[in-house]
Amino acid sequence: MLISFKSKNDAIGVASILRSTGKNASAIQLPKKYSDRGCSFGVKIDARDFPAVEKAAAILKTKISRVYEVDNP
């Protein structure tokens, strides 16, 4: 699953928080077809970890931009 954020800073932060809690998450540059304006960085996660993404976004006081239900972008 791909989650996009407003800025790379948010994507990096969310991925970092997730990994610090043992989740398998990584910040990636989104392929163009998933990239809308302002959302060129996202986080790749296992779909089961979506609640953890929401939690991390709340910690950073940021919002998820879009969610893409794809495994291998």
Binding site: N9, D10, I12, G13, Q29, F41, L60, K61
Partner: protein, 375 residues
């Protein structure tokens, strides 16, 4: 060498500063937030980590509202020039460093009116001296948390509350206090906080930052590549990208992260209490020396004590302390000509203990001054 010049920059640095800097340069010194390869991501995560640690130090709710800069002066310029324009009114105090005074004077030339509120005789700004300057055009008050000459700590909570009620931006220069005196941007109603990374935060020189309250968007004074919204001709309107263009000082930021962990593990309150003990002892020992005047308040001061002498030049004494006793202090105007005028002096000798200073250091400088003054 006994180092008592921590107001200029802290020294020594916590060991983590060296290990983090070295680890970064050796192992992952890629460009953070540009590419998405693993080294770049590792670099970006380190930047994020330091930003997050800073948010804990200042009680910032959204870490992205903190942007890295090269130093506190750059941050102050961003805050002042980013929010003020022709027709606006700015209030500063006469305890300000040139890092506030000079940009304020530059703004005055471009049509911003500037008022300078006078601090009390001990160098602490009484809100009653500040608030009467407010008029319908007042957009911002920018003051130091603690004077780098007198050392007196201003009551940010009281001033912040008064300004918040009136809808006036409150910008604080925390160069002398960030990391060594607790700062809470929420409870002090601080809209913009400028801080140095290499003083009380104990990171390396070349690091600093600015916090800007969510919803406030400064005009940019530098534009360029951010690795985001690259198709747009204008600078992104969100932080930190709006203010962080060009490659950031990654090793410096990584090392700052190391010192922040040290600070948070040790506790800023613990460091503050240690420095209060050192400063009190210094005030006690210097207070009994004849021919010496102590500037600033008796209590509630940052970890620095500035003194002048009846018939001796502070610069000569600083030289003697360095050469004969191996003690590092600073003399001169300390880049604060308004404060010098306020205290009626042409320069002073500043002794500034830090987190790694000891009572032995304080005794050594007091005994050396006693010897010099009696010779």
């Amino acid at each position: 060498m006994i180092y008592l010049d921590n107001s200029a920059t802290s020294f020594p640095k916590p060991p983590a500063v060296v290990t983090e800097y070295s680890d970064c340069v050796k192992n992952y010194c890629a460009n953070p937030g540009r590419s998405a390869h693993s080294l770049s991501n590792r670099a970006a995560e380190k930047v994020f980590e330091t930003r997050y640690l800073l948010s804990q130090v200042f009680n910032v709710q959204a870490p992205a509202q903190i942007a890295f800069t090269g130093n506190c002066t750059a941050s102050l310029n961003i805050g002042l020039k980013g929010f003020l324009g022709k027709g606006d009114h700015l209030i500063i105090s006469d305890m300000e460093h040139n890092s506030v005074y000079r940009p304020a004077m530059a703004l005055q030339r471009s049509g911003v009116s500037v008022s300078i509120a006078k601090a009390d005789s001990d160098g602490v700004l009484n809100p009653d001296n500040l608030l009467p300057f407010i008029d319908s055009k007042t957009k911002m008050v920018c003051i130091t948390h603690a004077s780098n000459v007198g050392g007196g700590i201003n009551n940010l909570a009281e001033i912040g509350a008064a300004l918040h009620k009136r809808g006036i931006l409150f910008m604080v220069d925390a160069a002398q206090t960030a990391g060594s005196v607790p700062i809470d941007v929420d409870s002090f109603n601080i809209d913009i906080l400028a801080f140095s990374g290499h003083k009380g935060l104990m990171g390396p020189p070349g690091t600093g930052g600015i916090y800007i309250r969510e919803g406030l968007v400064p005009k940019t004074i530098v534009e360029g590549g951010t690795g985001s919204l690259s198709e747009n001709r204008y600078q992104p309107d969100f932080l930190p990208d709006r203010l962080e263009c060009g490659t950031v000082n990654l090793p410096g930021i990584a090392a700052l992260g190391g010192s922040l962990k040290f600070l948070l593990d040790t506790g800023i309150d613990t460091i503050r209490n240690h420095e209060i003990k050192l400063t009190d002892e210094l005030l006690k020992r210097l207070g009994i020396l004849p021919g010496l005047r102590i500037l600033g308040p008796a209590t509630n001061r940052a970890s620095l004590v500035s003194v002048t002498f009846d018939d001796k030049d502070p610069s000569d004494i600083a030289q003697q302390l360095n050469k004969k006793y191996g003690i590092a202090v600073r003399s001169g105007l300390h880049c604060a000509p308004l404060a010098a005028k306020h205290f009626g002096i042409s320069g002073s000798l500043r002794i500034s203990p830090g987190a790694y200073s000891s009572m032995r250091d304080i005794r050594a400088v007091a005994n050396a001054l006693k010897e010099i003054l009696s010779s």
